[in-house]
Symmetry: C2
Subunit: 434 residues, 2 copies
């Protein structure tokens, strides 16, 4: 494994002393999985069990998981496992046979979207959903130009990786991709106007190079750019700009979707816009590989007439049963409201700590997606010390942003007062030592 | 849903009278899932339960599944469901933490490959595995030219769909894709030499257009081209040709892999070649979305140094536990040997029927992947009548080939003598009525 400057919080072999068993495992792992895999943390984490917001290592030590958004309703939620196993015992099959549960779930999930967004297609991963969105956008607009932010991440297929500058210099080259600066995060400027102007500038460059616009892809909370959440609504003029040029707006909700932001079920809704397509994934099956793309019928019409889409596992009966359970839990346990409340409390506590600190200069985010901007000398190294210091306190987070200087805090949505207390106790101690 | 001439055995709305409940479901389905989804059969099938090689409809009627290769060890195999549920109850997490089971499984699975193929990367779908193979091939060779057969299918990502002419005229255009004729299937010709010459011709065209070769992608049993299995070894000169030009050979084992051909665990081995990369998927998790790419270390080295690969669900602990169970069952139940035997018996029975028939002109395949070439006037329509006639006899198969004139028979590997008997009884009757 080589050092990867483009990835914050990457494990660098040789920097830490591992236990003999983990050292041996790591050696076998590198040999069998090859050089493209990365691990997190100076000393890699080796969990063996999960429950709620907690992960346990081999010695039974509990780690607070303040990072994994996949296990949104809590690690190993029994009702999700039960729904998955029950369906897998009965039937697992595909979308070329008639099935009730895919239609029931599709209708139910679509009811959480504005009416124009009334059709859904199922894939296995967020990468596949974004890749499909690109295919559909190309057919609908007859354009190829794509606008993304400078440190965006939209997936790992060839097409999605080319839209993901956060992958670093090794990301696939594609002359149809136009990068714009992420939001500034500065409260004194007109974020909406600056972002719109950046989209316009990219559209001008596109026009100058004779490339017709296809879409603006935006992760509506800018997860890899450093987490930019406010002011609400700042995306609106940029969305109007891409549409005025004949392009589509694709909201990548793989990270901000499914109640994560606390204020709305989907991140785009915080900005008062209705996308042309919405991709989603990670938390959708609480770990089961299931993802989707929600679309306006007039956007998918040409694609559907010209070609077909079949994804062997996408929308299979067990994927749908699992996603149905997760979706029910999110609503029945009131996780949107709970996320809003605990997220507010979380940011208030962090604000309190930040006041007396010269390490933190900004706290951003919404609900349980929080970015803590680190400042001072070598903020990247400082961020790394904080992330790894927290790990020693048995608290798991990671880092974000092109400079790796933003703490990325994104726990399961069942994060509660006890978890918050555990987090803040550890955080205070680590901050003092920095 | 529009009529799709490029897809054999596609349901065409309005041609058959459905039950009122299925008609209502279909209407809701079309409204919610949009126009890109297709169903099989004149009258769509609506299974509600599966067990072994049998699928059951709402009235409890048993249908012989002679088509689904995903449920390779049988629908809803209890040991697979148990392994999946047990791991999902314990921990589902990703490859950026250390995990034992992914390393154990990787080593075990790799032991079924020739020694040079010693590294593996996990994805969720065969599409993602082929897409990743393309990315790696581009980095390794610094080329972009790809050779595929005229009716190939390699997946649904933008890059993989462009390598899939079987998707029809609506497949994404890509000037780097060069199509060559599928094998002829004719016994009197030198299949190896013809196929090699076609690869050479594509390489010449590539050179003429200044495109550097990256890879030859071959489904080693030509699943969508019409199923071409013999003579064994006919791929070898073509593989030598692509390598001589500096390109790689990628064996797409998504359909022929995991014992399907009965003779070898992997289809490429029947041809006495060792690929540079091998993709696999469909049967790997018996329905759980898990897929992989096996690679030679020198092929992945540059890619791994330049960039990283992370797939949120790819190789997660539950995917691996499920795939481990499937892999164990394949070997412990001796499914390779059983597939060889029952496949031979199956083809012998079909040969017997073919002798007295002017409908069948060739029977191809290996193990439990069988292609039956239909002949006579309008073979496409005849094939469709056979497929739909068998469905009325409660036997599920589909069709293959650019002209939709090949019966595609590809049952779960636990297909047994009773299943064969049921199949042949129905087949005899349908053939008489044709």
């Amino acid at each position: 494994m080589s050092q990867d400057q483009s990835m914050a919080n990457a494990f660098v072999p040789g920097k830490a002393v591992l236990s003999p068993t983990d050292e041996a495992l790591l050696k076998r792992r590198t040999r069998a999985l090859g050089p493209a895999y990365r691990l997190f943390y100076e000393e890699p984490f080796h969990p063996v069990r999960g429950e709620g917001v907690w992960l346990y290592d081999q010695e039974g030590n509990a780690y607070l998981d303040a990072y994994n958004n996949v296990a949104c309703v809590g690690h190993c939620h029994p009702r999700v496992v039960e729904a998955m196993a029950a369906q897998a015992s009965l039937l697992t099959t595909h979308t070329r046979y008639l099935q009730n549960n895919i239609v029931d779930f599709a209708e139910d999930l679509l009811s959480s979207f504005p009416g124009e967004l009334s059709q859904i297609m199922f894939t296995c991963t967020g990468s596949e959903a974004n890749d499909l969105a690109l295919r559909i956008a190309q057919v609908k607009t007859k354009g190829t130009g794509i606008i993304v932010t400078e440190n965006a991440y939209h997936g790992v297929t060839l097409a999605a990786a080319a839209m993901s500058p956060s992958l670093g210099a090794g990301a696939p080259k594609n002359e149809n991709i136009f990068k714009i600066p992420a939001p500034t995060g500065r409260k004194e400027v007109d974020e909406a106007e600056i972002f719109r102007a950046n989209v316009e500038k990219a559209l001008d460059e596109m026009a100058a190079r004779g490339i017709r616009p296809a879409a603006l892809f935006i992760d509506t909370i800018f997860s890899s750019d450093g987490i930019f959440s406010h002011p609400k609504g700042f995306l609106k003029p940029a969305v109007e700009a891409i549409r005025a040029a004949g392009g589509l707006f694709v909201a990548d909700e793989v990270q901000p979707g499914f109640a994560r932001t606390g204020e709305e079920m989907w991140g785009f809704a915080r900005h008062g816009v209705v996308p042309d397509m919405v991709s989603m994934g990670k938390p959708m099956g609480n770990g089961y590989p299931v993802a989707a793309l929600v679309i306006r019928p007039d956007v998918i019409a040409d694609f559907g007439n010209q070609t077909r889409y079949f994804n062997t596992f996408g929308g299979n009966t067990t994927a749908i049963a699992t996603a149905t359970a997760v979706w029910s839990i999110i609503r029945e346990e009131g996780l949107l409201q709970k996320t809003l409340q605990i997220g507010k409390a979380f940011r208030a506590e962090l604000e309190g700590v930040a006041k007396g600190s010269d390490v933190i200069c900004d706290i951003r985010g919404s609900g349980l997606f929080i970015g803590v901007q680190i400042t001072g000398e070598d903020p990247r190294a400082r961020t790394s010390r904080l992330v790894n210091g927290l790990k020693k306190k048995r608290i798991l987070i990671s880092a974000s942003g092109p400079d790796g200087d933003v703490l990325k805090i994104r726990p399961p949505l069942v994060f509660d007062a006890r978890a918050l207390d555990f987090f803040m106790t550890g955080f205070d101690e680590v901050l003092k030592d920095i």
